[in-house]
């Protein structure tokens, strides 16, 4: 029997407001432990939460960008549980009246667009971090993260594969970055995902027992954990077993998950309305203002790249997968007359170099205008394509502009006919058989000789002129 997976994601994104959700402490990542906290966010007796209105605005923006309805009346609730990183013994979250609900985002699957529905988006506060002493046996708590605003985005179980889950997550990340409400850095924990997975016989309407997977710290983890869990569940069922409703923890190093707690151990969070915070009335004017403030979203931008720049769908998709990348492309394209080349350079060499050097777009040591210059140098025939690749590498090394690099390293194409003829003569002298081979009709020898000539000129020869001279010499 064939099985299909039913997957839903709960995504937590830290909002990039300057201050925390209920006090004026900074939300900045890092910092010495317990330097970004105050009596309010550490839950000292007598302190009260004062809601940072910006967090509500950011969350509404996220809701609008994912096609949600914004609730005109909403409230905050307490989720009660004991854990040392939770200073008040409860987390202020939202229970039955979330700020945003009933939205969707569209993802690309192999052959079609697919709509992933969003059940709800609500605001809540982040907890602190436990640190375990390396030199001693103690545990320590860092409350810097406590009270950093979060949104939790809960999808409907509309996802059918690890690949779709990854696309969905990438789409959410792009949207949140585009609207500038979260920096979505999975490695810093500002974007986190829990995955609910069940399997069922293909075509069935019945939902199987589900498990929840936690501790997924990268897109790769999400992908691998889903693949692994689908396989595990199918294996259990095929072996005649039953899936237990449980929470599992993913171990990225081992590439497997293990049970954390079963349904029976599930906590009773005893949600109830937060009495320290009055309900929120969200005025329509606010929603309308925030709607107007929304920038162009990834899907719209992608369509524009296709229609305005004539880029292929795939290229447009890649270029709009992150705001930084898209902004870099846009800035470059705006200044260039050769957008196709811009797109090729960014999608090809630039992404390769970033990947090899483990850099982010923000780490690029030169402005977009330098890439425009590089492309102009090629288009004007000052340098050839292979030199350009070296120049691009040097731009990443030094941050210098391509004109200077070309000058400094003498990388202009060699166009001097008499000099190039000399080079060709030498190459023919060194490879006497080649002339005979050519005369016998082996035209491919041209390529070999050009290669040799290029090598002799360290790749700087103008390939067109070189070709012309060579053919003329061979025909003589």
């Amino acid at each position: 029997m064939n099985y299909e997976a039913v997957i839903g994601l709960e995504v937590h994104a830290e909002l990039s407001t300057k201050s925390k959700i209920y006090c004026s402490c900074t939300t900045e990542f890092g910092g010495e432990p317990n330097t970004h906290c105050c009596p309010v966010c550490t839950g000292m007796p007598g302190t009260l939460p004062a809601l940072n209105r910006k967090t509500v605005e950011y969350a509404i923006k996220a809701g609008l960008a994912t096609n949600c309805t914004i609730s005109p009346f909403t409230k905050q609730d307490r989720k009660n549980y004991f854990y040392p990183d939770l200073p008040k013994g409860y987390q202020i979250s939202q229970y039955d009246l979330p700020l945003c609900k009933d939205g969707f985002v569209e993802i690309e699957t192999e052959n079609e667009k697919k709509r992933i529905r969003i059940n709800r988006i609500h605001i809540e506060e982040d907890a602190g971090k436990l640190l375990h002493g390396e030199e001693d046996n103690n545990s320590y708590i860092d409350y810097n993260r406590t009270g950093v605003p979060l949104i939790e985005i809960v999808s409907e179980p509309d996802i059918s594969s690890a690949r779709e889950a990854k696309s969905y997550l990438e789409k959410l990340k792009a949207i949140l970055q585009f609207i500038n409400v979260s920096d979505c850095k999975m490695e810093e924990g500002s974007l986190r995902a829990d995955v609910n997975i069940s399997v069922r016989p293909k075509g069935s309407n019945h939902l199987g027992e589900r498990t929840e997977m936690k501790n997924l710290n990268s897109f790769r983890s999400v992908y691998r954990a889903i693949e692994s869990e689908i396989a595990r569940q199918i294996h259990v069922i095929k072996s005649g077993g039953k899936i237990n409703q449980e929470t599992r923890r993913w171990d990225e190093n081992k590439g497997e998950s293990y049970p954390m707690r079963s349904k029976e151990d599930a906590q009773d969070y005893r949600y109830f309305p937060e009495p320290d915070l009055p309900p929120l009335i969200i005025k329509n004017e606010l929603v309308e203002r925030l709607k107007k403030e929304l920038p162009e979203l990834p899907d719209a931008r992608k369509q524009r790249y296709v229609s305005e720049y004539g880029l292929p769908e795939y290229d447009a998709q890649v270029l709009t997968s992150s705001k930084e990348l898209s902004d870099f492309f846009e800035e470059t394209a705006k200044q260039s007359t050769n957008v196709k080349a811009v797109s090729n350079w960014i999608m090809g060499d630039m992404l390769r170099i970033l990947n090899e050097r483990n850099l982010e777009i923000v780490d690029i040591p030169f402005p977009p205008s330098y890439l425009v210059r590089l492309i102009t140098l090629i288009d004007k025939g000052v340098i050839n394509g292979s030199t350009a690749k070296n120049v691009f590498d040097l731009m990443f090394d030094t941050g210098k502009d391509p004109d200077n690099i070309v000058k400094e390293h003498g990388l202009e194409m060699l166009k001097d006919q008499s000099f190039l003829l000399e080079v060709i003569e030498k190459v023919i002298r060194d490879n006497p058989n080649s002339l005979d081979d050519y005369k016998k009709g082996q035209k491919k020898v041209i390529g070999f000789l050009v290669g040799q000539a290029m090598k002799a000129t360290k790749g700087k020869a103008d390939p067109q002129i070189l070709n012309q001279i060579l053919i003329k010499r061979l025909e003589d």
Binding site: G43, M44, G46, F82, F272, P275, D276
Partner: protein, 488 residues
């Protein structure tokens, strides 16, 4: 007359005329505490040095004309669940027996800014959970009228100190009657303001939707003076109201002519001691003699107010007290096996019996499967009770009745019967449930010469009508001048 017998308004006038110095007054009050407090047990902490320093500083500012508040130089005490920077704020609990806040409550800041001098922190039931001040981890407070008896609670220290002259006025907190009931047991004026009139920032939470800070004073005039100083919006407390509060001394008017005074029949039924019923009916006569009209009204939901109150209060308390896990502040268990053992033992050892009972009950009513039957139903009842009081106020300007069905009882008499003690909150809790203001003023003595309190309930944010009515009563009776004989 000795200095501690004066009211705020009298002392304020003596101070501004330079007939007494603030240092002299403070010194006198500290001496009074020294003499009496080993017996009465009003204070958990006495801050002699700070008080004298503050007195000297305030005197200088007064002399320079920088400070001109009626509270300037007035020595006071604050309930020990209101945070004071650098001074132990214990909540009467072992759990916070080492907790020194790094911040002042909003009301403390306001009182300091007005130049009032803090004498110390006042005893209370642990975490304000109780009505006799017997559940304090530190000591029992004795009723100045009869030291074998309780002062009421939870603000028992606050009430006893004012009546015994160990403070000119004090602050208490009232979640279900914790200002009004001790004021009634000890014979002083105690006001529980409208929910939201006074910032709760710095008040250690018991039940967030019910808690409110308020003054305990010798007279209604003093009450208005303190209320003026502490009322007002605070951006740190989103439940505090943004409305501009009036000058409450403007309501000190001796006139109830034409006023409609509501007397709910449920407030004077047989559950109330006869002496108290008589005193209430006497008060009604005082008002009608002065030209007010007495309207008999009914609040049929009264039988539900105590269960409604306890479900809501304890649900919130169970969550508010979750932060006491020994990790960040307060008491912590020693030699724990692991984090769970640490948390469990800290809470088992740090909380007293009554607090534990309330946490357990509150946890229960919020638990899955019971939430709808208890907590959710209580919220509905709360809405109905609030509506009924609003309806009652369509027929009258103010409601009067007793504060408690009894006067002060013997220490130890009821401590083992929590249900009985909860039931006696019946006349005070509806006010908190509906967020209304209410005041207790002395209206007589019972057969044992123990004070009886008259409760005046007002419409939301209508403290003025309460003050006006209470002031009129005071001007036309002598009950507020009755003082216990303390043999010192």
């Amino acid at each position: 007359m000795q200095l501690h017998e004066y009211t705020i308004s009298e002392l304020s006038s003596l101070i501004s005329k330079k007939e007494i110095s603030i240092l002299e007054l403070t010194q006198h009050m500290l001496g009074r505490i020294e003499k009496l407090d080993s017996e009465l047990g009003c204070y958990i902490s006495i801050v002699e040095d700070q008080a004298m320093e503050q007195a000297a500083k305030v005197q200088k500012m007064l002399d320079k004309g920088i400070l001109t508040s009626p509270l300037t130089g007035i020595p006071m005490g604050i309930k020990d669940n209101i945070c004071t920077e650098g001074i132990l704020t214990s909540c009467g609990s072992k759990m916070l027996s080492n907790f020194v806040p790094p911040y002042n409550a909003h009301v403390v800041k306001k009182l300091y800014n007005s130049g009032s001098v803090l004498l110390g922190k006042l005893n209370m039931d642990e975490y304000a959970m109780g009505s006799s001040t017997e559940s304090s981890y530190f000591k029992k407070t004795r009723n100045p009228w009869d030291t074998e008896r309780v002062p009421g609670g939870s603000s028992g220290g606050s009430a006893a100190a004012v009546v015994a002259g160990e403070a000119i006025y004090s602050l208490g907190s009232d979640t279900g009657g914790s200002i009004r009931q001790p004021a009634s047991f000890c014979g002083c004026v105690g006001l529980k303001p409208t929910y939201g009139l006074i910032s709760r920032f710095g008040l250690v939470s018991y039940a967030s939707s019910l808690d409110q800070i308020g003054p305990l004073t010798k007279t209604v005039t003093d009450c208005a003076l303190v209320l003026n100083a502490i009322a007002g919006h605070d951006p740190m407390d989103l439940t505090s109201s943004r409305r501009i509060h009036p000058d409450y001394t403007k309501a000190l008017i001796n006139d109830v002519k034409g006023m409609k005074i509501g007397l709910p029949r449920e407030f004077i039924d047989d559950s109330v001691e006869k002496n108290i019923r008589d005193a209430i009916l006497n008060a009604v006569k005082v008002f009608t003699d002065l030209g007010a009209e007495c309207v008999e009204i009914s609040i049929p939901v009264m039988e539900y107010v105590v269960p409604t109150y306890y479900i809501i209060a304890l649900a919130e308390a169970s969550s508010n007290l979750a932060r006491y896990d020994g990790v960040k502040f307060g008491y912590r268990a020693s030699n724990p096996k692991d984090i769970l053992d640490f948390c469990k033992r800290t809470r088992s050892e740090g909380f007293g019996t009554e607090v534990k009972r309330r946490i357990l009950l509150g946890t229960y009513v919020l638990s899955s499967g019971y939430y709808d039957a208890y907590y959710k139903k209580a919220l509905k009842a709360r809405a109905i009770i609030t509506r009924e009081f609003n309806k009652a106020f369509e027929q009258c300007d103010i409601i009067i009745g007793p504060v408690s069905p009894t006067t002060a009882y013997k220490i130890g008499e009821k401590i083992n019967d929590p249900i009985q003690m909860y039931m006696e909150d019946i006349f005070t809790v509806p006010v908190n449930i509906a967020g209304l203001p209410a005041m207790s003023i002395p209206c007589g003595l019972d057969n044992n010469s123990l004070p009886i309190g008259l409760q005046l309930l007002g419409k939301r944010f209508d403290e003025q009508t309460i003050i006006k009515t209470a002031y009129t009563f005071e001007q036309n009776t002598e009950f507020h001048n009755l003082r216990p004989n303390l043999n010192v």
